[in-house]
Symmetry: C2
Subunit: 121 residues, 2 copies
Amino acid sequence: MRAFVHPTVDQMTPQAILHALADPERAKIYAEIAGLGCIQGCATLADTGERVIPKSSLSQHFRVLREAGLIRSERHGVEMRNYARCAEIDARFPGLLVAIMRAYAQNSGQEFAEAVAAKHA
Amino acid sequence: MRAFVHPTVDQMTPQAILHALADPERAKIYAEIAGLGCIQGCATLADTGERVIPKSSLSQHFRVLREAGLIRSERHGVEMRNYARCAEIDARFPGLLVAIMRAYAQNSGQEFAEAVAAKHA
DNA sequence: GCGTTAGTTCGGGAATATGGAACTATTGAA
DNA sequence: TTCAATAGTTCCATATTCCCGAACTAACGC
């Protein structure tokens, strides 16, 4: 278990941020963290949804978010605390996070993604 | 060669848009299209950069952008015209594209998107 | 028809993502 | 201090996606 990697503000790239948030699962996780300011643990999230996300996948999702600079993870005893780095990101890329979160909030049904998927099948 | 798939405005998803623009190559292509309003052909782009992107890859990039709703492709005779659907996307997800393009512009001296960001402002 | 131009699709290897099983780190209790 | 429980990480095999050369297709002009 090596130490966590947290990029500095100027190491953040739009590329990594977009990639991290392009996954709705991760966007959801990030939204929850950003909403709460701090969220504890993977297991907490794992069972809140309808689908149970395996904890290894959760761990990966957290890593991607972390390495994109979206969250900061701290180990407190046996558990984990994740904080959204909104302010830092907003300082670097003003308006980006708000716009993305707004977009997700606005989007409800993803019928088209399914249609395309079916077409390519 | 089946007909192109173009999502309607309400079929667009943040997910697809973010995924499409998470690739800097595609972001660059989109920026150029958005900047010019219309760009002709894949080959045009292929040799403008330092690295020559193979046309099959270009074709895929265009498809991803198209199916995310970012561009509209029309075949005019033997060649192709691609238009940015900025207005439509901005109507659906206000501020999203500007924020993303700004972020890319801000990042590591990538001047390319600056003009575009300015244009959308 | 034939050749040329512009782009798409096919196919297979590379890269990335998913998730179960095993492992690690920390705490609390016996 | 040893053991069990909890919380996450890492390993690894499978699955999916991406990349790009080669083959194919569509639209011209001759």
